[in-house]
């Protein structure tokens, strides 16, 4: 049966469905939220006069394309509650407000799980002051602000910031929060947010508090960019805390390379670059699908084949199996579609 159920309507799921459609396979996307696009649909374009290749438009474009395809059905505001049948002929039962409280069973030869990941809850790392110290924003809050108003303002004053600090690796590379992994995307994201801030507020000074820069694309050379800009500072440090300064602004305390002293500096705005964690429903969904998760709570993929889960007929794409950036997720969507199609070919 040439039909695939795709769980999750983020960039990986959308790409998988579109890639299947190109090859004559119909699919049904089951999305928990109200709209398609997933986490990357919540991001705003960070380009100024030129594209900085943040890929944020990719999800919206693919979502539009999917909604205009008769070969792809999407069920929104619905979650998978059970999976019966056997590989090659699954029955996926979904339930939720999108079905007016009712249930529906979808038949599918294969399942692609593309449920994505969630940003780290900054409130868990209390020393960084999110929610307690004013003008400490998460990277996602900064995105939303940029998206809704098109401007960058300090929340407490409503004016553009004169100085911004980016604190990297919040909820990544941190065993205290069971996140021993690197989330990978946050270096790129902060770099592009910083460029967007400079484009809108050219006089704003920036400081990056980072552990390692992990940008691979030679065109995204943050060091080169920073060395050509005035007022951009690179501090290799993991800050110890963010407190309220005397003037009410957020004050970051950190030590840095080359001296052992603790430094303290107030900024107009502090941005916490959030890492990614497994999606909140991941454990339950894994139980329903009968697949395994890894030590961190992400879906486990086979050593030999990154897009295959531990169960036949169920494939994985995107950050449900570990943090990914937008482009990597899209590639996995296409690869998982190949795998699912190959599985259906054999099944027939």
């Amino acid at each position: 049966m040439k039909r695939v159920a795709v769980i999750g309507g983020g960039i990986a799921g959308l790409t998988a469905s579109l890639s299947l459609r190109e090859r004559g396979v119909t699919s049904v996307i089951i999305e928990r939220g109200m709209s398609l696009g997933g986490l990357c649909g919540e991001l705003g374009c960070k380009g100024d006069r030129t594209c900085v290749r943040c890929d944020a438009c990719l999800a919206r474009e693919k979502a539009t394309e999917v909604s205009s395809c008769p070969e792809i059905e999407s069920i929104k505001e619905a979650e998978v509650v059970s999976l019966t049948g056997a590989p090659g002929d699954f029955r996926v039962t979904v339930e939720g407000p999108g079905l007016n409280g009712g249930r529906r069973t979808v038949r599918a030869g294969a399942v692609i799980c593309a449920t994505g990941a969630e940003p780290f809850d900054a409130g868990l790392d209390r020393r960084l002051g999110h929610g307690e110290v004013q003008d400490v924003l998460t990277s996602m809050e900064l995105e939303r602000g940029m998206m809704s108003t098109g401007a960058i303002n300090v929340p407490s004053t409503g004016t553009p910031p004169r100085s911004v600090a980016f604190i990297q690796c919040v909820g990544s590379r941190d065993e205290r929060f069971h996140a021993p992994y690197c989330s990978g995307y946050c270096c790129k994201s902060s770099f592009k947010q910083a460029q967007a801030i400079r484009a809108k507020v050219p006089t704003c000074s920036l400081a990056f508090l980072f552990m390692d820069w992990r940008l691979y694309d030679p065109k995204e050379n943050v060091r080169l960019w920073a060395s050509g800009q005035e007022g951009v500072e690179m501090v290799r440090s993991r800050p110890s805390e963010v407190i309220v300064a005397e003037d009410g602004r957020p004050e970051v305390r950190f030590s840095s390379e080359g001296d052992a002293d603790v430094r303290s500096r107030a900024f107009d705005l502090v941005v916490l670059a959030l890492g990614l964690r497994p999606s909140s429903g991941a454990a339950q969904l894994a139980r329903i699908l009968g697949i395994e998760t890894d030590g961190c709570g992400f879906m486990r993929s086979l050593t030999e084949d990154p897009c295959s889960s531990t169960r036949a007929g169920i494939f994985l794409a995107g950050s449900c199996r570990g943090p990914k950036d937008i482009l990597e997720s899209a590639k996995e969507g296409a690869t998982a579609a190949s795998r699912a199609l190959a599985f259906l070919e054999v099944g027939e």
Binding site: E22, D212, Y216, E304, T335
Partner: protein, 532 residues
């Protein structure tokens, strides 16, 4: 009154968005233009409902061409094509007037609407001269793929293609698949399974492996390429619908004398207790390069086999994405030392060596070393593949891709896909996904059955061509060449419609579909407010 039948569809966007203004005056302006049958406001044309409204509007008006006044044509033209087709028109029978990025987003409230009027007027005058493309046809696709590569990447791509029922030819220059020594496997099981893929692919009934074979040329069009293969027994032709290029960089740890790094377990017996691994990978252009996962894995392996061994990794940043982070933790726990340095280190002596560097945390360092290793990378075949497949190289000497981020795996030549890799970071999982994505693109192209050729491409009027070779030299996509008739011709399947040759040609022999001289002049006149 002219007899043109033009419709103008104006996409209306939310009041909250930047530069929004009242579109009704713009609509009535458009409706008043000569030959415009109807001008309509369509709420959010990229939504499902908006598309339906647009199709309905076109059908009811009886228009045979239309203007879309909306945002950038770059991102939404596929949508406009589908609207045109659904309304029973030619898929290219439209022109986009970008009144968002072009006017509303960049101008103050009063100027935005005025400029929008001009942009719409220009688009109407241009679409008035619209004609069907000289060639745009559906052609059947050949359901087989040629994979060009030497090892595991090629095998992985071939596995994916064959599993989807596509015949696959792997073209290997050497006597067999190269050993996957350039890859980074996180454990033995992964390495074993990779070797298994290479064995299985060779035995797959849909896969043919051509050893000792190179590709000499590639002619034809997407869906129907003809490769000329050069083998020991002489040249022969191979038909295929798509090509996947899977060149493999050679990435190994080598000593300063160029010899391969010894196996980690042999270090002690070789009397090597103090090891320094220098930064590898591409230099960032602003100082020292980075520590790579290859060095990291070697350090972990050596440290876990030999307690007491002293290993240092030098580099500007430590790159260990995702689960490689755990490898770093493991190495750290076993005593591997990491030095984050800004400037390149210097090495003195001939073994034992002295390595000098400046670590901001501990100051100037001078450490003795029995063995100094460096991550070496060579990408031997990019130039060769570029000339055979007529693909341009980028400034780094790698195969150039168009908007690689939006269309992973694509090259400038449709139907030819490339597996990319991160130099110095050939993690098996990443490579498997890269090969999977390229294979996926190839099968998307072929399993559809037929494909369109043509569209916005340049065409040479042979009578006017003075064979000055300007276009041949200039074309960034190698699409222009001198044909058999001794005049310039432009390969339809290579042309990207950039227009460089059109503006260069001193004989005005080249015109580009949709951007012909008559259309451009009509637009210019419209911009200046003159009538036809």
């Amino acid at each position: 009154m002219s007899e043109d039948r033009i419709a103008v569809l104006i996409c209306s966007w939310g009041a909250g968005e930047p530069g929004a203004f009242d579109l009704e005056p713009l609509r009535s302006f458009a409706a008043s233009m000569d030959g415009v049958l109807t001008a309509q406001l369509i709420e959010r044309m990229c939504s499902e409902k908006g598309q339906k409204d647009a199709v309905k509007g076109l059908r009811e008006s009886g228009a045979d061409r239309f203007v879309v006044a909306a945002c950038s044509p770059k991102t939404k033209s596929w949508l406009h094509r589908s609207i045109a087709t659904a309304a029973g028109l030619h898929p290219l029978a439209f022109e986009v007037a970008n009144i968002r990025e072009g006017a509303a987003y960049v101008h103050a409230r009063d100027l935005g609407p005025r400029k929008s009027e001009v942009i719409i007027r220009m688009a109407v005058e241009k679409v008035r001269l619209w004609s069907e493309p000289p060639f745009e046809e559906e052609m059947p696709a050949c359901r087989s793929v040629a994979v060009v590569g030497e090892g595991l990447t090629a095998a992985l791509a071939a596995r994916d293609l064959a599993a989807q029922g596509l015949e696959t030819d792997i073209i290997v220059p050497g006597p067999g698949f190269a050993s996957p020594s350039s890859y980074i496997f996180i454990n033995r099981a992964q390495r074993e399974s990779a070797l298994k893929v290479m064995r299985e692919v060779a035995l797959h009934p849909l896969v043919r492996t051509h050893l000792h074979t190179k590709v000499r040329s590639c002619e034809g069009r997407p869906g129907d390429f003809e490769l000329i293969l050069e083998a020991e027994e002489g040249p022969r032709a191979l038909e295929c619908g798509a090509v996947v290029l899977a060149p493999e960089p050679c990435n190994e740890l080598r000593g300063l004398d160029g010899s391969l790094a010894p196996e980690a377990e042999d270090l002690i017996s070789l009397g090597m207790r103090r090891i320094v691994i220098l930064p590898g990978g591409p230099s960032s252009g602003t100082g020292c390069s980075c520590m790579t996962p290859r060095g990291l894995l070697y350090a972990l392996e050596a440290a876990s086999m030999t307690p007491g061994i002293e290993i240092r990794l030098l580099g500007r940043e430590l790159r260990a994405l995702g689960s490689m982070e755990e490898v770093q933790h493991g190495a750290q726990r076993r005593g591997v030392r990491f030095h984050r340095i800004e400037a390149e280190p210097s090495v003195r002596g001939q073994g034992p060596y002295t390595v000098e560097f400046h670590d901001p945390l501990v100051g100037a360092c001078s450490v003795p070393a029995d063995l100094v290793l460096v991550d070496s990378v060579t990408v031997p075949r990019a130039g060769e593949l570029a000339s055979v497949f007529r693909l341009p190289l980028d400034e780094k000497g790698e195969l150039m891709s168009i908007e690689s981020r939006l269309r992973p795996g694509e090259t400038v030549r449709r139907g030819i896909y490339v597996c990319r890799y991160r130099v110095g970071n050939m993690i098996y999982e990443d490579v498997a996904l890269e090969a999977g994505a390229a294979a996926s693109r190839a099968s998307e192209l072929l399993l559809r059955g037929a494909m369109e050729i043509g569209g916005t491409v340049a065409e040479v009027e042979a009578e006017k061509c003075s064979v000055c070779l300007g276009c041949v030299r200039l074309c960034p996509y190698s699409a222009a060449r001198i044909g058999e008739a001794g005049k310039a011709v432009i390969d339809v399947e290579l042309c990207q419609g950039c227009g460089s040759c059109v503006s260069l040609c001193p004989s005005k022999a080249i015109d580009i579909y949709q951007y012909g001289e008559a259309q451009i002049i009509a637009q210019e006149r419209a911009a200046l407010g003159r009538s036809r």
